[in-house]
Symmetry: C2
C-alpha cells in the first residue's frame, strides 16, 4: 500500500526539531506534513516555509486558529491566515475556544464562533486559505472548543462557500458519535482535513495528552477513512497524536510507528 496520502503532523513528535521532522518524512517517503504555528514561529516562518518547500513536502494544514473567546482573536486569526498562506498550507484548522471565564452561556459562545468565522472568511478567501472548523470531543467543550460535534461544525460551515470554510474530521473527536457517518456523508466537499489517532483509557489529568498512535486503541479508523472517501474526500490523511508517552520516544521511532499504524489500520 501507498503512503501517497499520508501526512505527519509535527505535533505527533512534539520535541523533534522541525528540520529533523522534515528530513524524517523525506527519508521515509511521507509526502505531507502538518504544521503548528508555535514551532514554526520558533524556527522562523519564512525559513520554515523554505525548508519544507525545498524538501519537496506538501504542507497539508496549519494548526491552529480559533480560540474566539480570547480578547485578541481577530488579530491573531488574521496573522494565522497569513502564516498559512506563507507556508502554502491550504487549510487553517480552527479550534473554536471554550466558554469565557465565569460564563455559562454556551449558546452565546457558539454564536460568537459563527460570527467570528463570518468576519474572517473574506480574509481567508483573499489569502487562498480555507478555514477548517474542527469539532473537538465534548470533554473539551467548556475550556477548548464549544463546537463539540461534526453536525455543529457543519451547521456553521454551511453558511459559507465550501471553498472558504470546511470542517476537520478528526477520528479522536468524533468516533463516539452515533450520527458521525451521517454527518460525514452530509459534509461531502466540506471535508477539509481528515486526522487520525486512537482512543485509549484511562484518560490522563487534563485529558489533553492521552491519545494513542493509530491502531493502539478502539477507534474504527478504517471505517471512518472509508466514510470520508465515500463522501468524496481525496485529500491527505494526517496522523496527529498528542501523547506524553509518544512524545517521550525518539522522533524517528514515532514516525515509523505512525507509518506502520497508518498502513495497518487506516488505508
Amino acid at each position: 500500500m501507498s503512503l501517497a496520502r499520508l501526512s505527519f503532523n509535527q505535533a505527533t513528535a512534539q520535541h523533534w526539531p522541525l528540520p529533523e521532522v522534515v528530513a524524517g518524512c523525506v527519508a521515509s517517503g511521507v509526502p505531507g506534513i502538518g504544521l503548528w504555528r508555535e514551532p514554526v514561529a520558533g524556527y522562523g516562518l519564512a525559513r520554515a516555509a523554505k525548508l519544507v518547500r525545498d524538501a519537496g513536502l506538501t504542507v497539508t494544514s496549519l494548526c491552529r486558529g480559533g480560540f474566539f473567546s480570547a480578547e485578541d482573536w481577530q488579530a491573531d486569526n488574521l496573522r494565522a491566515i497569513e502564516e498559512a498562506a506563507t507556508l502554502g498550507a491550504p487549510e487553517l484548522v480552527l479550534v473554536s475556544g471554550g466558554l469565557p471565564a465565569g460564563s455559562r452561556d454556551v449558546d452565546g459562545a457558539r454564536r460568537r464562533v459563527a460570527d467570528a468565522i463570518g468576519e474572517l472568511a473574506p480574509h481567508a478567501a483573499a489569502a487562498g486559505v480555507r478555514l477548517a472548523i474542527e469539532p473537538l470531543h465534548p470533554m473539551f467543550a467548556a475550556d477548548r472548543c464549544v463546537i463539540a460535534t461534526l453536525g455543529q461544525a457543519l451547521d456553521i460551515a454551511e453558511r459559507f462557500d465550501p471553498a472558504v470554510v470546511g470542517v476537520v474530521v478528526d477520528a479522536y473527536h468524533v468516533w463516539w458519535d452515533d450520527t458521525v457517518y451521517a454527518q460525514i456523508d452530509r459534509a461531502g466537499a466540506r471535508i477539509a482535513a481528515f486526522q487520525v489517532c486512537d482512543w485509549v483509557t484511562p484518560l490522563p489529568e487534563g485529558v489533553l495528552l492521552g491519545r494513542a498512535l493509530p491502531g493502539d486503541g478502539c477507534i474504527e479508523l478504517r471505517r471512518l477513512r472509508e466514510a470520508v472517501d465515500a463522501a468524496g474526500y481525496r485529500g491527505p490523511i494526517e496522523v496527529e497524536v498528542f501523547s506524553a508517552g509518544v512524545w517521550a520516544r525518539p522522533g524517528a521511532e514515532v514516525l515509523d510507528a505512525a507509518i506502520a499504524g497508518y498502513l495497518r489500520h487506516v488505508v
Copy 2:
C-alpha cells in the same frame, strides 16, 4: 423556595455511612434519597430498606444496573431489579457499559445494550421498577457507556412501554450537546430521573471524580431544569456529585452545600 423535589444521592457523600445520610436528610428537610447498590449491600438490603422507610424518606432511584458487556450482566441486572423493588426505588439507573476488551465494534456494543434491555424489560415490569437508561458523557464511551447522548438513549427507550423503560437526564453528561433541549422535549414522559452536578476543569486522571456541586461550574442547570419541567417531568431532582474533593469533606457539610446549590442554581 421549597426542597420538595430534592433528592440527595448518597454517592455525593461517598464516605458518609448510610444511617448518617438518612438522618442528615431528615434533619435538613430533604425528602428524597438516591441509593447505590454497593453501600446498600454493605449495610444490608432489607435493613437499608427499613431504615429509609422508617425515616420517611422516598427512595428516588437505585444506581446502578447495566454494564451489559460483563459476562454476568443478566443475573446481575435481575438482582438489581429485585433490589430496587425491595428498596421501593421506582427507577433502576442503567449505565450500559463500554466496549468489550479489545473490541472496536461500537455499533455491536450498542445493539447488545438494546437487546439486553429487551430481555430485562418484562422482569422490570413485573417488579414494578422502571429501567432508566442513562447516557454518559462521550468521554466514557469506550470504557463505561456506549450510550453517549440523550438521543441514543431515546432511540432505545422508545422501543418499549414508557412505564417500563425511560431515560436519565444527568446535566453533567448532556450539557455540551446542542441538541439536548430538542431531545428533552422529545423525551417527555420518558424522563425517569433528572440529576444535577456541575462541570469544572481540568478533569482529573480517569475523569470520573472531577464533578462539582451545583453552581460551582459552567452548566446551565436552571435552564435544563426548566426544560425537563416543560417536557412534563414532575419527579425528583437528584444532586449526584462524584468528586474526590467533595468526598473529602464531612458529609453534613456536603449536604448543606448541595442544598444551597440546589436552591440557588437549580429551582
